[in-house]
């Protein structure tokens, strides 16, 4: 063990990212060699168990990193690992961790084994390619989550499309071709935006530093010394088109209304395991794009666009929730729910203060888990009934009480019930928005509270009432494996809800650092802080209460 760790010193993050696809390639190679020497193919069960083992090992390694390597007290990027790729492009393979990417990393690696387990038996005919695609998708998503170089980020971002589309096309359900073409179209649009920014920044750093660099961390591999991408000066009028291009790229994946149309189609057609990963890791790569690149690189434009983005987020939440209210198909319904929550996350991000940003990250994490849990449950129902139409169900709490129990838990977390994860994110986003977007925060609150009603509506239609359909009468409840999967999904939601401080302590420093970077890089000359319009205390009325101590006030005199 010590030997392994010593060998991995300085490369542990890279090793974790590469492990899934490495395992897949070794398997493929072994299978090919066996084929060459005339033996039979490796049986599917070996593929599956090796794939499962690889993903589980990856998860264990990320947990090790989270507990032993990562230092929550440190600001800025850590566990930095840089490999030369193309010095002339200023592009290296750079990976680094901060609190946010750590959380997304752990959640994504933890979900892959669960996603694998959830599709037992369903893909026996082609398990080899299936394992290969899943592991490849994991590696590409992880790479984008921890990328510390713009081109690395974009490369992994684009690469993740390949396994995704192959998976969708090979194992998707009805409408998979349509879904795949929609994904491809929107992602192509988004990718062109991202590449545009890459080229412009490449030219800009070349002009300003004499050598190109796209790295967020200083490295000797580029000829720019201590200067990084974050030292490049971008004038305000240049920030606008760049932010627009980059933002559209990210908005295709987060996904933000009106660029969301691929997601309902994708979820409706995707197999359960893929839905789980789209709802979590795939969407979280877009959030990393916002937090690690878009906001620090274009701080002034982002600040100026903040109110508009907040408004967009709220409109997206309300719009998607209202549409979810009338969906008749479960997967589409949950897909619209996740569109709505993506809007809420954008709202949190665009508040541009610590609480709002932290809330958005927590919210992406917990709502991702909860929607993934719903997709899993819907998958379990679909296996039993062969359909996901809401109308086909009814009164399932009688034959499937455990399923109803977990469904209710996930819904309650999405609704923001205290002691479940969703509450923490919602609370922080709302608190943050009160500071900078007070007018909108009331609408956010209303939208957030009302948004949950469609979930209740669907829960009632599926699980409550009399069992009308004869086919539903004999349904078998979740078996042991399925219960285990759902329990594994529930535990983090409950832990985050009951005691969120350890999580918050890791996210907040990253957000502080982000805000610090934005302030440092701002090219707009700081005007003296103006009194915000509608501030509660009139100039004459401000009193020195900074030292007001709540604790002292609580003690009776």
């Amino acid at each position: 063990m010590d030997g392994i760790l010593a060998a991995l010193d300085g490369r542990i993050l890279t090793a974790v990212i590469a492990l899934p696809v490495f395992a897949a390639l070794v398997l493929a190679l072994v299978a090919y060699l066996l084929d060459v020497i005339g033996l039979k193919y490796l049986p599917a069960s070996i593929w599956r168990s090796v794939g499962f083992g690889a993903s589980l090992t990856t998860f264990a390694a990320t947990v090790y990193i989270a507990l032993a390597v990562f230092d929550p007290e440190r600001l800025g990027l850590q566990v930095v690992e840089v490999f030369e790729w193309s010095a002339s492009l200023g592009a290296n393979l750079s990976f680094a961790l901060d609190g946010v990417s750590l959380c997304f990393l752990v959640s994504t690696t933890g979900l892959v084994p669960l996603a694998m387990m959830s599709t037992r038996g369903a893909v026996d005919g082609s398990a080899r390619a299936w394992v290969l695609m899943m592991l490849a998708l994991e590696t590409t998503m992880l790479g984008a989550i921890v990328a510390a170089n713009l081109l690395t980020f974009v490369a992994f971002w684009a690469a993740s499309l390949i396994p995704l589309l192959l998976w969708m096309g090979r194992w998707g359900g009805l409408g998979r071709a349509r879904a795949a073409s929609r994904i491809w179209t929107t992602e192509a649009i988004g990718l062109s935006g991202l590449l545009f920014v890459v080229f412009v920044l490449h030219e800009t750093t070349l002009a300003q530093f004499g050598a190109p660099t796209l790295d967020l961390v200083p490295t000797a591999l580029t000829g720019t010394g201590e200067r990084t991408l974050l030292d490049v000066r971008i004038e305000l009028e240049d920030q606008w088109p760049l932010l627009l291009a980059f933002g559209i790229g990210l908005a295709t994946r987060l996904p933000i209304v009106p660029l969301h149309f691929w997601l309902p189609a994708a979820h409706a057609a995707a197999p359960t395991g893929l839905s789980v990963l789209i709802a979590t890791g795939f969407v979280q790569t877009a959030a990393m794009g916002w937090l690690r690149f878009a906001l620090p690189l274009f701080p002034d434009a982002a600040t100026a666009a903040g109110p508009a983005l907040s408004l967009l987020g709220i409109v997206a939440l309300a719009y998607a929730s209202l549409i979810a209210l009338v969906q008749e198909e479960l997967k589409r319904l949950v897909a619209y729910a996740s569109v709505g929550y993506a809007g809420f996350a954008l709202f949190g991000i665009s508040t541009l203060n610590v609480q709002g940003l932290t809330g958005a990250v927590v919210q992406l994490l917990t709502h991702g888990l909860a929607t993934a849990g719903l997709f899993l449950l819907i998958g379990f129902l679909a296996v039993r009934r062969g359909t996901t139409e809401v109308a086909a169900f009814g009164g399932l709490a009688k034959p499937m009480p455990v399923c109803a129990f977990f469904f209710a838990l996930m819904v309650l977390s999405l609704m923001g019930l205290p002691l479940l994860g969703g509450f923490v994110g919602d609370l922080f986003v709302l608190l943050g928005s009160l500071e900078t977007r007070r007018g909108l925060s009331v609408f956010a609150l209303i939208a957030m509270v009302v948004a949950a009603s469609y979930l209740l509506w669907v829960q009632r239609r599926i699980f409550l009432g009399p069992v009308d359909e004869p086919a539903n009468r004999g349904l078998i409840d979740l078996d042991r494996v399925e219960r285990g999967i759902m329990l594994a999904m529930t535990i983090p939601i409950v832990i985050i809800g009951v005691y969120p401080n350890p999580l918050l302590r890791r996210i907040e420093p990253a957000m502080l650092e982000l805000l610090h970077q934005m302030e440092r890089r701002s090219v707009v000359i700081e005007a003296p802080a103006e009194e915000e319009e509608g501030a509660p205390v009139s100039a004459s009325g401000r009193v020195d209460l900074v030292h007001f101590d709540e604790r002292a006030a609580r003690e009776p005199s």
Binding site: Q355, L430, S453, R460, L545
Partner: protein, 687 residues
């Protein structure tokens, strides 16, 4: 750190937390057993888990009450478990601790909740033992009862806003679960949905109030999350004449934020107390087991609503608009639901409407500033309403679940004991002297009389009218159930017997409380009659003086007071007499014939169709908007068809038309393209 002394200190200062945590722990164990493990455990184990938690809670509450009295100054006992949620930087950072606070107000509610819950638990045990409720339903009932009681205790013991909201949400979830208890019944699942949506509206109000309050305080430089901290900050800011919490204008009369916060709190309270216009979840959710209804309507869910008002009484007094709304809603509820109760034909709905009506009186009491009297009424009401509901449960189970009053009658001969208990409970609910509710209601009337509000005369009249109607409604139900001739439904069960065992014992305990609870705090007016010293008479009122604003007693005595009491009694007697004349002998009779009266009866029975109006004017437009405008119009037509399909079609056509022209098969044009390409490349390299 304050001295806590007594048992609390002897036990390491950490017994308050267990009052709330133990029932929740029991709920968790039940939840895992039912929802996850699907284990079937024996009835005795179920009872052991639930009762041990509750009894310990009750005992700890009682011990802590003695400690509180021991301290003398009634300083709150604080029990801090540790940090819970915190974050942010600078003046807006916050840290909510998991701290429980046991002050006089919490003490009163803790004891009320645990005591009534104890009676209800024992009654439920009796039901299961007698086979009225089967094992599976009994297990679920106990799990949800534990959740309900535990959440209520968290709510009343909370020391800060977030913990308070935790208890609040737990109470909401438990109420919703109970409303949908018979989940395979479509009515029950609908009731669950209604309860949930109304509860959600209340959550919205409370969350908005909490967040805006915290925001306003931190903008004023005094961020506070704990109740005591908020009050201290509030007083500090008020004392310095700061126009804090006023948005922008800086005017003297417009603390707009306070009004918004006040309205949020009032909205939250109205939803939990089942007040007009959000009352209809309570009559709908009467499909719940009777023991659950008894707790929801007496000491848990409805307490949450009043408690939030009492905790923020200091703030509401600075929000006159919100207070006016509160008074209006309370008064309207009192009258409208009393009318509904007077014409109701379903027994559980009738009782639920009387609950709404009496809580309207409590809400009105809070609105006019009679805080300790309102608390007192809530306390006595908890016991007598529990008793009334449990007794009505006996009637229903004797009738094999029949709830239609028209199908009942003549039960008095066979259920003698139940007959007496129901009569006692009904009289105690409407406050017939000397039973429990008499003293607080009489005190509230006196408060109304001396209230400086311009409309107080009108309020007083409405209160008299409503009390008379309530007396009529309950007397009517009593006569229809027990008097007159036995109905077919009654005859179908030949061996009707009074309940025995725990079902009876629990009611005996409650009956004693119904007789005596009024003695806990009659106002000094009664004390003066017997030369009792001040503090011994209104013990509840004086106990609460440190926790909530306002004096314990109305300054009204002599002739005026006697006039009020006389008027009150006349109203009650009128209600009773009319009911007895109409229903004592001939039973329900027939529905009214004249169309005008029939329509009027229907309107009253349905509480003026408020629910249907909400359905038509709120729910349907939203669904229409979602279905037609958004889902069909924008999502399908605009985005799917026009933008995506149309857009891609356009792109495809354009690209193809260009490519088609290039790929024309003519050698000349290919050569031309080749030449042009070479030209461009050469130019590029040269330049």
């Amino acid at each position: 750190m304050i001295e806590i002394g007594g048992w609390n200190e002897a036990l390491g200062g950490s017994i308050i937390r267990w009052i709330a945590i133990l029932p929740l722990l029991a709920a968790f164990v039940h939840g895992v057993l039912i929802g996850l493990v699907r284990a079937r455990i024996s009835n005795r184990s179920i009872w052991a888990i639930s009762l041990s938690g509750l009894v310990t809670s009750f005992a700890l509450s009682a011990i802590s009450l003695f400690d509180l009295l021991d301290v003398g100054r009634l300083d709150p006992i604080l029990d801090s478990v540790g940090p819970w949620i915190g974050g942010g930087v600078g003046p807006r950072s916050f840290s909510a601790e998991l701290t429980f606070q046991f002050d006089p107000l919490s003490a009163v509610f803790c004891l009320t909740v645990t005591a009534t819950a104890l009676a209800v638990y024992l009654h439920t045990i009796g039901q299961v033992a007698n086979g009225v409720v089967d094992r599976e339903a009994g297990h679920r009932t106990f799990a949800m009862l534990d959740l309900l009681v535990g959440s209520t205790l968290v709510l009343v013991l909370a020391d800060n806003l977030l913990l308070f909201f935790l208890g609040w949400a737990g109470v909401g979830i438990a109420s919703q679960l109970f409303a949908a208890f018979e989940f395979d019944d479509s009515d029950a699942s609908r009731a669950g949905a209604t309860t949930f949506v109304i509860g959600r509206i209340g959550d919205l109000g409370l969350l908005a109030a909490m967040l805006l309050l915290f925001d306003g305080l931190s903008r004023a430089g005094a961020p506070a999350l704990t109740f005591r901290g908020i009050e201290a900050a509030f007083r500090l800011l008020e004392g310095q004449g700061v126009l804090w919490l006023s948005y922008g204008s800086g005017g003297t009369e417009a603390p707009l934020l306070l009004e918004i916060v006040g309205f949020g709190l009032v909205l939250a309270a109205l939803t939990k107390c089942a007040q007009v216009p959000v009352h209809f979840w309570l009559p709908q959710s009467t499909g719940a087991p009777v023991s659950a209804s008894a707790l929801i309507q007496s000491s848990t869910t409805v307490v949450a609503g009043i408690y939030v008002l009492l905790r923020f009484a200091f703030l509401l007094e600075s929000a006159p608009g919100a207070l006016r709304g509160l008074i209006f809603a309370g008064t309207a509820t009192m009258l409208l639901t009393a009318l509904g109760a007077a014409t109701q034909i379903r027994l559980p709905r009738l009782i639920a409407l009387t609950t709404s009506s009496l809580l309207g009186l409590v809400v009105l009491g809070v609105g006019i500033g009679a805080y300790s009297t309102a608390t007192f009424l809530l306390l006595t009401h908890a016991f007598v309403k529990t008793m009334l509901l449990l007794t009505s449960g006996l009637v229903q189970s004797a009738q094999k679940g029949e709830t239609d009053l028209r199908q009942m009658g003549g039960l008095a001969q066979r259920l003698r004991l139940t007959h007496g208990l129901y009569a006692l409970a009904a009289l105690a609910v409407v406050g017939f002297p000397p039973f429990a509710n008499f003293f607080p209601i009489e005190e509230l009337l006196a408060f109304l009389w001396i209230s400086a509000r311009p409309e107080s005369d009108l309020l007083l009249c409405v209160t008299f009218l409503s009390l008379g109607l309530l007396a009529f409604a309950l007397a009517r139900s009593h006569f229809l159930i027990f008097w007159g001739n036995a109905r077919p439904a009654g005859q179908a069960t030949p061996r009707l017997r009074d309940a025995t065992g725990w079902r009876l014992h629990s009611l005996t305990g409650l009956a004693i409380m119904a007789l005596l609870a009024g003695g806990l705090g009659p106002s000094q007016f009664w004390g003066d009659l017997f030369d009792a010293p001040t503090e011994q008479m209104d013990s509840v009122g004086f106990f609460l003086t440190t926790a909530i604003p306002g004096g314990p007693d109305p300054e009204l005595a002599g002739f005026e007071r006697w006039t009020l009491i006389g008027g009150y009694l006349v109203c009650l007697l009128l209600g009773l007499t009319i009911a007895s004349l109409r229903y004592a002998r001939q039973g329900y009779g027939t529905e009214p014939k004249r169309p005008a009266i029939r329509v009027a009866t229907d309107w009253m029975r349905e509480v003026f169709y408020i629910e249907r109006a909400a359905q038509i004017f709120l729910v349907r437009p939203i669904r229409w908007l979602s279905q037609e405008a958004l889902a069909r119009g924008i999502e399908n037509q605009l985005i799917d068809r026009v933008v995506v399909t149309g857009g891609s079609g356009l792109v495809r056509q354009t690209v193809w038309s260009v490519l088609r022209r290039l790929q024309n098969g003519r050698l000349q044009s290919y050569t031309l393209i080749g030449l042009l390409t070479v030209l461009v490349v050469v130019t590029w390299m040269v330049v």
